[in-house]
């Protein structure tokens, strides 16, 4: 697995800080925010792209692609595929998507176009720098993946859908190994401004580390964040045959549409309910077997709807479930969120530790589950689910199972 987030670069640093209940949110440094109602975000800090990408290539691609390349390199190395790639490269694929793509390069190019005109204002690399599927394309070029190559786009569900679709591609028999997840980088005037305009972001600017507070009564919007979360999925027999050490098994995937509204879920979260049920059916497990949910929990009004949906799906077992929103610490990575949170769900199973929901000082009465408030909990679960819901009413749920070491 590989990850970049406001909590750090690499899985180990992310996991250490998640277990410590730390926040990665801070003031925006990328641009002057003085005219914006929100001045905080989760920026990736200390990222040196030349660790993974040749210097001349760095300026040929938006940051979201650079993150994807770095995250994929980490995941491939972690899986032991760097030195010895799969024998059949035509069965080695990449599904890595993004919600928005190269929005900041689009902004700077439009400004240069106005200033210098079309000949000198637009780089010949502009199109491949911004289009979403160059995340998957660049990864495939670097690792020789000649199998299925797609970038799914489903807003904040992108990372989860990418992993779910990769799972299905392996189950279907089209590939043995898939690099899958999401990437995003939209901490830019247009990215932040767009979500400000839709009144989606927290304005708790004076307390950045406390701004993302899922399930609390005082939550006031999500905190925009960036990074990537990328996994290597592999057919279990194929992995064991080459002596790989699987971290967990992906066993269930659900995906549904709300058919309701462009940004809001229906009040009962019916789309989310059907999605979780579909994932449980796909995994072939009873609701009572699930131990942990890494919730979508964005720190918006929809947290209560997700809570309601979990209660509707799990009934009495909902009171025994541990549920946390790690967005309280890393913020909302949009298209990368499902990738990072899938990785966190795997880590929770692997280490027998459930990461907390921080900042839950004043739980909303409509949010009444066990959210693992404030501090991580040592607890071994057999099954964990990761929920992702996106604009357009697009939902994804993934279920992971513990593998005996």
């Amino acid at each position: 697995m590989g990850a970049l987030s406001p909590l750090g670069i690499g899985i180990a640093e992310n996991w250490r800080r998640l277990c410590a209940g730390e926040s990665g949110i801070g003031p925006i440094t990328r641009f002057d925010t003085s005219e914006y109602p929100t001045t905080i975000a989760g920026e990736v800090r200390g990222f040196d792209p030349t660790r993974w990408i040749a210097k001349k290539e760095v300026r040929q691609m938006d940051l979201f692609i650079q993150y994807a390349i770095a995250g994929a390199a980490m995941a491939v190395a972690d899986a032991g595929l760097e030195q010895s790639p799969p024998a059949d490269l035509e069965r080695y694929g990449v599904f890595v998507g993004a919600g928005l793509g190269g929005i900041s390069t689009l902004e700077t190019t439009i400004a240069a176009l106005r200033e210098k005109g079309p000949r000198h204002g637009i780089s010949p690399y502009f199109v491949p720098a911004i289009i979403v599927n160059l995340a998957a394309g660049q990864i495939s070029i670097r690792h020789g993946c000649k199998g299925p190559n797609l970038s799914h786009v489903s807003a904040c569900s992108t990372g989860a859908h990418s992993i779910g679709e990769a799972f299905r591609t392996i189950v279907h028999g089209t590939a043995d190994v898939m690099i899958a997840g999401g990437t995003e980088s939209t901490v830019s005037p247009l990215g932040v401004g767009g979500f400000c305009s839709s009144r989606a972001l927290s304005t708790r600017n004076d307390q950045p580390t406390r701004a993302s507070r899922p399930f609390s009564a005082s939550r006031d919007g999500f905190v925009l964040s960036e990074g990537c979360g990328i996994l290597v999925l592999e057919e279990l027999g194929h992995a064991r045959a080459r002596g790989a050490r699987p971290l967990a098994e992906i066993v269930g995937y659900g995906l549904t549409g709300d058919a309701h509204h462009i940004t809001m879920p229906p009040p009962g979260g019916e789309g989310a309910q059907r999605c979780m049920k579909m994932a449980l059916r796909d995994a072939g497990i009873a609701p009572e077997q699930l131990g942990y949910i890494n919730a979508h929990g964005t720190s918006t009004a929809a947290d209560a709807i997700e809570t309601h949906a979990i209660r509707a799906v799990f009934g009495a077992h909902a009171d025994k479930l541990a549920v946390s929103s790690t967005k309280s610490m890393h913020g909302h990575l949009l298209g990368a969120a499902g990738g990072l949170e899938a990785a966190i769900s795997v880590l929770a199973i692997q280490h027998g530790i459930l990461p907390p929901t921080i900042n839950l000082d004043d739980p909303d009465p409509a949010c009444d589950l066990d959210y693992i408030p404030h501090v991580a909990r040592a607890h071994q679960v057999e099954y964990a689910m990761s929920n992702s819901f996106g604009f357009g009413g697009t939902n994804a749920a993934l279920i992971f199972r513990r593998l005996e070491p």
């Binding site: 210097k55 001349k56 000198h120 491949p128």
Partner: protein, 81 residues
């Protein structure tokens, strides 16, 4: 600006754009064969040279510029002394 100065400045732009050592940028070097440029990199290089020397390099001329020496010659021929 004499030809030697132009060669030096062109070499610096090429070295920066293509991420190669300046001393490797000699007149006989081919952009695609020796310096690792693809078609997009050549377009980017042409635009950088246009900006630096305030010249316009038409597309049919670009097709004839294969080596560092070709690029230097074009700039020398098209910049006023």
């Amino acid at each position: 600006m004499n030809a030697k100065d132009i060669h030096q400045q062109v070499s610096e732009i090429i070295a920066d754009q293509l991420d190669v050592q300046c001393e490797d940028v000699t007149p006989d070097k081919s952009f695609t064969e020796d310096l690792g440029a693809d078609s997009l990199a050549i377009v980017e290089l042409v635009l950088a040279l246009e900006e630096k020397f305030d010249v316009k390099i038409p597309d049919d001329e670009v097709d004839r510029i294969k080596t560092v020496g070709d690029a230097v010659k074009f700039i020398v021929d098209h910049t006023k002394a």
